[in-house]
């Protein structure tokens, strides 16, 4: 049960590359925070700085009230789960889980008890005397978590722990991690590039781009109210539909399209209109003629991809849109659907700065 506080944390590599450019964040006790962002955005570096595996170039990191900038990783009382598990290959599961406790000089009987309890909780009790190479990916992942749990650390750090698992197992483990975290109520920081994992696990989500936090908040707030174009396009699957537009005083204009229902927008700037695929609807009076290109059937709903007739962007004739609808909607390919949208729920961004205008 510990707070983590980051103030103006900066990481610059000796070659001048800036991985993290000033991050401020306050993580409450017991909170599950997810860092999400594209690869190379600095999210892993940030996590590794909290773990103590990377030096902090500037700024401060506190765990509870202690400044930990120069504290060694072992003394920060954090535990980390790695993407490739990083189990010690020559030790048994028991050896792997007890190594950290042994190094801390805990008596053997106590170690045994903790290891047994953690193994019970993770359902790996039967494998305690096996070696990692005799376990499946999911079991190894559990051992890696067990190694973190037995330590009873102040903070759990997860560095893309599920990316090496197959899709089905990933969903199972995701639920299990969430359940475990609820049960143990330990402050956790989880790094991923998978936005589904991010949305489902996080109490609060930090979208990181280019070494900075773009936006931080509850996952659903980020989905409903993204503050920037980046967040809007990163969060949500299928991706938000984006259309470059200009404002003529009453309408948003792109090629032949004139979209009504907007006001108070700058009319000299290049803008981007964002509409979530599920905000579109079939509407005979709608403003988007969609030429159907591909229909993906996902089961309960269908995703219809196609070009918006008359909408252009840099020479591209028909802007691609995605329309999310129910399973019984199966239009012919190359037929044209007319789609409408709710202007109240649509988002408008400044194309150059990426800021949300409404």
């Amino acid at each position: 049960m510990s707070k983590v506080q980051l103030s103006n944390v900066i990481k610059t590599y000796p070659n001048g590359a800036e991985a993290v450019r000033g991050v401020d964040m306050e993580i409450q006790s017991g909170e599950f925070i997810v860092f999400v962002g594209p690869s190379g955005c600095g999210k892993s570096t940030l996590l590794r700085m909290i773990a103590g595996l990377e030096k902090i170039t500037d700024g401060q990191i506190h765990i509870d009230d202690g400044l930990i900038n120069d504290v060694s990783p072992a003394d920060r009382d954090v535990a980390m789960v790695f993407q490739n598990y990083a189990l010690y290959p020559h030790m048994t599961v028991r050896g792997n889980m007890s190594y950290g406790l042994k190094n801390r000089g805990m008596p053997k009987s106590e170690i045994d008890k903790k290891v047994t309890d953690a193994a019970e909780m993770l359902r790996i009790g039967d494998f305690l005397d096996r070696q990692p190479n005799q376990l499946s990916g999911g079991q190894r992942q559990r051992v890696a978590m067990g190694r973190a749990i037995v330590r009873e650390p102040k903070v759990f750090l997860f560095d893309e722990p599920l990316s090496n698992l197959d899709a089905k197992l990933r969903v199972q483990m995701r639920i299990e991690i969430k359940r475990l975290q609820r049960r143990m109520n330990v402050t956790s920081i989880y790094v991923t590039h998978d936005q589904t994992e991010a949305m489902t696990l996080a109490d609060r989500l930090a979208v990181i781009n280019d070494g900075k936090i773009e936006q931080m908040g509850a996952p659903i707030d980020l989905y409903n109210n993204p503050e920037t174009l980046f967040v809007a396009s990163f969060i949500g699957s299928p991706q938000v539909n984006l259309l470059p537009v200009t404002f003529d005083g009453q309408h948003l204009v792109n090629g032949n399209l004139k979209l009504a229902g907007f006001s108070d927008l700058p009319n000299s700037k290049e803008l981007v209109l964002g509409i979530r695929p599920d905000e579109l609807s079939l509407d005979d009076n709608g403003q988007f003629p969609l030429r159907v290109d591909i229909v993906e059937q996902h089961g309960s709903d269908n995703l219809i991809y196609g070009g918006i007739l008359g909408a252009t962007d840099d020479g591209v004739e028909e802007m691609e849109f995605c329309f999310k609808t129910s399973q019984d909607m199966l239009p012919d390919l190359d037929s044209t659907l007319t789609l409408g949208f709710n202007a109240e729920r649509a988002m408008v961004f400044d194309k150059t700065t990426g800021d949300r205008l409404r």
């Binding site: 773990a51 103590g52 595996l53 060694s72 990783p73 072992a74 954090v78 535990a79 980390m80 790695f82 993407q83 490739n84 990083a86 189990l87 010690y88 290959p89 020559h90 030790m91 190594y99 950290g100 190094n103 801390r104 190694r147 330590r151």
Partner: protein, 284 residues
Amino acid sequence: MKQWNWRLISTHAILIVGVCFMSLPVWVAFATSTHSAEHILRNGLQFWPGSDFVETYRQVLFVDGGVMKSVLGTTMLKNSLILGIGFAVGKVIISMLAAYAIVYFRFKLAVPLFWVIFMTLLLPLEVRIIPSYEVVAGLGLLDTHVGLIVPLIASATGTFFFRQFFRSVPDELLEAARLDGATAWGFFKDILVPLSKTMIAAILIIMFVVGWNQYLWPLIMTTKEENYTLVIGIKQIYQILAEGGELPQYQKAFALTILATLPPVLVVLVFQNWFVKGLVESEK
């Protein structure tokens, strides 16, 4: 079908010729060592074992003055074992520690130092034998086991092998160990050494054989007979043969040769599984 048979026959013929070529001298040496000195002098090299096996080897191994002026075959065998084992163990320890420092500690000169170590491959013992002798003599270590072994144990090849191996160990293991509170020594002892097991075994075996076969250094290092290794003993006995005098004891010279080849062969036979594993398998 016929063609296939021919192939089989020809490859086997080549292999058999190869085997004979390699092992016939050893066999002749063994067979000759079991005859009496007179018999050999009269009839030359022997292809079939004679009746003096027990007598010759007893003389060589256990009888005072049986083979050299004073030293026993067993003493030379012991000296050779000490040299072989000390040489191998020393090399493994030194090169593992050197590789550990080079790979895991980010000090400024790590890379240049590694290349300096690597370049010592260009300076084998034969090149630096006079200064080495001078140093060992200055330290008063002539005719001692320490003086025999220590100048030989720095190993660029060993360091290189371990460096390559350590670099292939995933960084996350180190990071996990750091988070688990392992010290630098703890990580080395608890994680790197067990991971390198097969590698260590392979290098131990190679180095044992190399150490066993050392010739020049023990030759100039040892002046007293009781410090002779088997290899030096062989050299001395053949020298006596060449100088003439009494009835040449060819059978004892051959017996000594056979004795000198046995331990390396045994080591390789017994440990060949480990050896192959260490060279081809990476357990990660």
